[in-house]
């Protein structure tokens, strides 16, 4: 119905703007918590250096936060501008989650962020501390609501199709909020944010230590970051494993693609550590496998199977045929035939309606699809293996590398020799990009792994777009490319500038560029 180019360009624009937004979100999530911790130490001990730490890392946080606000606005606009049919089809469920995010999170963080920066002289110590923690809570609540919304896209519960309004409607708000996928995603993502903030502080502090400047300031920052980072990276890994378990229940195709499990193996399935997925021949070349592991991760048992792609495709064929029936009955209902028989027939197949809609890519009428078309749609309903297989492994590798870095940093910090281990400091500095690589690849696994759906099993991506022309899309993509490139250059310039100046930017007279003799205090 639309040119494929409109669908392709809409996906490209959404992917790029979401990935770009996600450069700033994890750092905001992590930094607000680290600021809360630093300021808590300040209030408890009364040592000025912790106040300086809160203010200085707060400056870097502010540079990042401005970009998060800028690019977050895009996403809210974009559901309507580029995914209008999606917005209409599932607005009944998705909309209130976004509105709740506004009420509970955006107001909290955006109102208190100003007071965090400008309230130092106008509030008592404890009042300001409360403001900082409210800011942290606000950012994490924001993640909670958007991940409940995203969790619903991955695993849509608590909603039903209404043939009178031709859209999905909420049946249980509680089911939507308590969605197991959303809960696991939330903790995994937020903890990943804390890791990002920790690595950022750890790496930059290491750089100061390597340059023998602002030692006392950097050493204290280093120790907070290493402790918080270690706790967070452990949570990310444990919760990532928990994600694997819920995926085994709820997102079988994504899990099978990540693991390149072409066929159902005898339980318990082995875990493919490494290999080269070969989509054409449906096998993994040079696979290195660990016996039993996948079965254990995905089913928490030794006798349940993990379904392979071939079997999932068979399931899809059945559901597509059910979807054709559902679509046929829906046409009758829309034509005015509201007889009990038709209603019952529709109710029986309505769960498969989304699979019927997959056929719309090939035939407008759906019900007239032949066997070859159905087969093509069944292929479409499975994600591509190689991109998921690789991005997942990159994410996991980054996660374990960071675990190693944080564990060593924490150990040497606890034994009070961290600033003499120059190799450790260098490693921590060069690890700064890792959390971002992990976050971006993790986003890709979650979202690309859901394809070809925007709402799993309910609404195919190619139907979700707005009725736009490719010219309009090129206009917007051009605009985003221009603004985002310029803004990124500016942001990085300021970030590097303020990292180089360091805590001297506070003009307290206590730090390296302001003193004749360098040293700790």
């Amino acid at each position: 119905m639309f040119g494929d180019d409109v669908v392709m360009l809409s996906r490209m624009q959404f992917g790029l703007t979401a990935l770009y937004h996600f450069l700033f979100v994890p750092l905001t999530l992590g930094m607000t918590f680290i600021l809360g911790i630093m300021e808590s130490v300040y209030v408890m001990t009364g040592k000025e250096v912790y106040k300086d730490m809160t203010k200085y890392w707060g400056k870097l946080f502010g540079i990042n936060f401005a970009m998060g606000v800028t690019t977050g606005l895009t996403l809210e606009f974009q559901f309507g501008t580029n995914w209008a049919y999606y917005s209409h089809y599932v607005g009944d469920i998705f909309g209130p989650l976004l509105a709740s995010e506004g009420w509970m999170a955006f107001f909290l963080e955006s109102t208190f962020v100003g007071l965090f920066f400008f309230g130092w002289d106008k509030l008592t110590k404890v009042q300001h501390l409360v403001v900082t923690w409210l800011l942290a809570v606000g950012t994490s609540l924001s993640a909670l609501w958007i991940l409940i919304a995203n969790g619903w896209m991955q695993y849509p519960v608590g909603a039903e199709f209404n043939y009178e309004t031709l859209r999905m409607e909420m049946t249980s708000f509680a089911a939507v909020i308590l969605n197991p996928v959303a809960q696991v995603k939330f903790v995994h993502t937020v903890a990943a944010g804390y890791v990002t903030g920790s690595m950022f502080v750890l790496g930059i502090s290491s750089w100061y230590l390597l340059n023998n400047r602002d030692i006392g300031f950097a050493r204290r920052s280093f120790s907070i970051a290493s402790a918080f980072g270690l706790a967070s990276v452990l949570s990310v890994i444990v919760l990532g494993d928990e994600s694997g378990y819920t995926q085994g229940e709820t997102q079988k195709a994504k899990l099978a693609a990540i693991e390149a499990e072409w066929q159902t193996e005898e339980a318990p399935a082995s875990f493919t550590l490494f290999g080269f997925p070969n989509q054409a021949e449906q096998r993994t070349d040079y696979a290195v496998k660990i016996p039993y592991l996948l079965g254990l991760i995905a089913t928490r048992s030794v006798n349940e199977e993990v379904k392979g792609l071939k079997e999932l495709r068979e399931d899809n064929l059945v559901r597509i045929k059910g979807g054709m029936q559902a679509y046929g009955e829906l046409q009758k209902l829309r034509g005015g035939d509201h007889s009990v028989a038709t209603q019952q027939a529709f109710a029986e197949h309505k769960a498969d309606l989304g699979y019927g809609l997959l056929l719309k890519k090939y035939t407008e009428k759906v019900v007239d699809a032949d066997a070859a078309t159905i087969a093509k749609a069944a292929d479409d309903a499975l994600p591509k293996v190689a991109p998921l297989f690789w991005t997942f492994r990159i994410m996991v590798a980054c996660g374990f590398t960071m675990l190693f870095v944080f564990a060593l940093s924490f150990y040497y910090c606890a034994t009070r020799v961290a600033d003499q281990k120059r190799w450790l400091l260098r490693m921590a500095f060069w690890s700064i990009p890792l959390p971002w690589i992990a976050a971006e690849t993790g986003w890709f696994v979650a979202e690309f792994g859901r394809q070809p759906w925007t709402i799993s099993g309910i609404l195919p991506t190619h139907l979700s777009v707005s009725s736009l022309s490719s010219g309009q899309l090129w206009f917007s993509i051009g605009g985003f490319a221009l603004f985002y490139t310029v803004l990124l250059v500016i942001e990085l310039y300021l970030m590097v500038k303020y990292v180089r100046i360091g805590p001297s930017s506070l003009h307290t007279g206590r730090y390296c560029h302001e003193q004749v003799s360098y040293g700790s205090h």
Binding site: P96, F117, G119
Partner: protein, 381 residues
């Protein structure tokens, strides 16, 4: 009491409340940014101006975000139609808003005057283009938009970006800009002293009469020159949301007759005009009168938005190319369950948000002077 019909009306009112909160708070943020390059001559003066809104603009912007989110939640069809139909206009608003977070936060982090000057103009764009385009949008809400739904309830827009820029809509854009700038000038005058204060006074003096004149022309234009469609038959007010369950004629008995059907609605335009007139009269006087002047300017904006809402009722979006596709509060809403949940969340969180916003404003309140900016040069924007 919480039946579907009532919830639909309640949400029509709530969206109005959020739109009003947006206009009142972002109104002066926009206005202050529009005035920035003209009222501030030196760098320090400009920093005074920026810092009158610097600490609070972000919370204010959430009213815009929430307005979008709430429309998405309770009128998904309206959200889908407006944002995709007015694609280019919406993206221009978005791009203009991009200038603000970075403009506020980054401007004073580098001392090069070219850098600062460039961001000042960025803030000017971010404060000027959105009210103009949103005014054009309101004009087009009154004129109606060319869109239709197909059998799958997929919305198709039948016009172009240039089609939005009719003379009436452009007048609305100008009026909207004058209103935000007037509101912002009063705010700036209230929060500052010295040269900035004096120039803001001049702005208030000039903008007040222009705004009143623009409003008068636009109002007469609506009553005398615009068609208003009318619903001739519709499903029950608690029926499932589907725009095709009604019949609409493109030309009904008109806007004046609509107001006359329930003349108490005329309170809204009267409040709009008198509020702004009083704000202008008081805003020219001494400092003590400024809080009251700002209050009247706010009441004026409330009156103007209510006028638009009352005028459109029960329509939310009028379609000119397929009148039956027009959306009303009865056939564009979310399900009863969703409206109820959104209702309770709003009832709980609206007062909380208002309370802490008030607290934050109270803490940060106080006149800004060049001396105070220089004293906190390294912490202020």
């Amino acid at each position: 009491m919480f039946d579907y019909e009532t919830m639909r009306v309640v949400w029509w009112l709530f969206i109005g409340v959020v739109a009003i909160a947006f206009a009142l708070t972002e109104g002066f943020d926009f206005g202050v940014c529009t005035l920035l390059p003209w009222v501030g001559k030196t760098d320090v003066e400009r920093r005074v101006i920026i810092n009158t809104v610097g600490a609070t603009w972000e919370g204010n912007q959430v009213w815009l975000v929430l307005l979008g989110g709430a429309i998405f939640a309770v009128w998904p069809a309206v959200y889908a139609t407006l944002f995709s139909g007015l694609y280019v206009a919406m993206l221009l608003v978005l791009f203009a808003l991009f200038f603000r977070p970075a403009g506020f936060d980054y401007r004073s982090k580098v001392s090069d005057p070219r850098w600062r000057n460039a961001w000042d103009w960025g803030l000017f764009i971010g404060g000027t283009l959105p009210p103009v385009l949103l005014g054009v949008l309101v004009g087009n809400l009154l004129l109606g938009l060319p869109f239709h739904f197909d059998q799958d309830l997929r919305v198709h827009y039948d016009g172009s970006f240039w089609g939005l820029l009719s003379p009436f809509a452009l007048l609305c854009g100008v009026v909207s800009l004058l209103a935000s700038t007037f509101h912002g000038a009063l705010f700036l005058k209230w929060r500052t002293e010295g040269a900035v204060h004096d120039r803001a006074t001049q702005a208030v003096q000039v903008l007040g009469p222009l705004l009143l004149a623009g409003l008068a022309v636009a109002t007469m234009w609506v009553f005398a020159g615009l068609d208003r469609p009318e619903i001739t038959a519709m499903a029950a007010t608690n029926a499932p949301s589907n725009p095709f369950n009604k019949t609409v004629v493109a030309v009904g008995s008109g806007w004046w007759a609509h107001f006359m059907a329930l003349p108490v609605m005329l309170v809204a335009p009267v409040l709009g005009f008198s509020g702004i007139a009083l704000a202008w009269l008081l805003g020219r006087r001494k400092r003590q009168a400024l809080p009251l002047a700002f209050l009247f300017s706010s009441l004026g904006l409330v009156g103007l938005l209510l006028t638009v809402g009352f005028g459109l009722y029960p329509f939310l979006l009028i379609s000119t190319s397929d009148p039956q596709s027009s959306l009303t509060l009865w056939d564009a809403s979310s399900s009863h369950t969703t409206l109820l949940w959104a209702f309770w969340i709003t009832v709980v969180f609206l007062p909380i948000v208002l309370l802490y916003t008030r607290w934050v404003y109270r803490i940060l309140w106080g006149s800004l002077t060049e001396a105070s900016v220089l004293k906190d040069s390294h912490t202020l924007y």
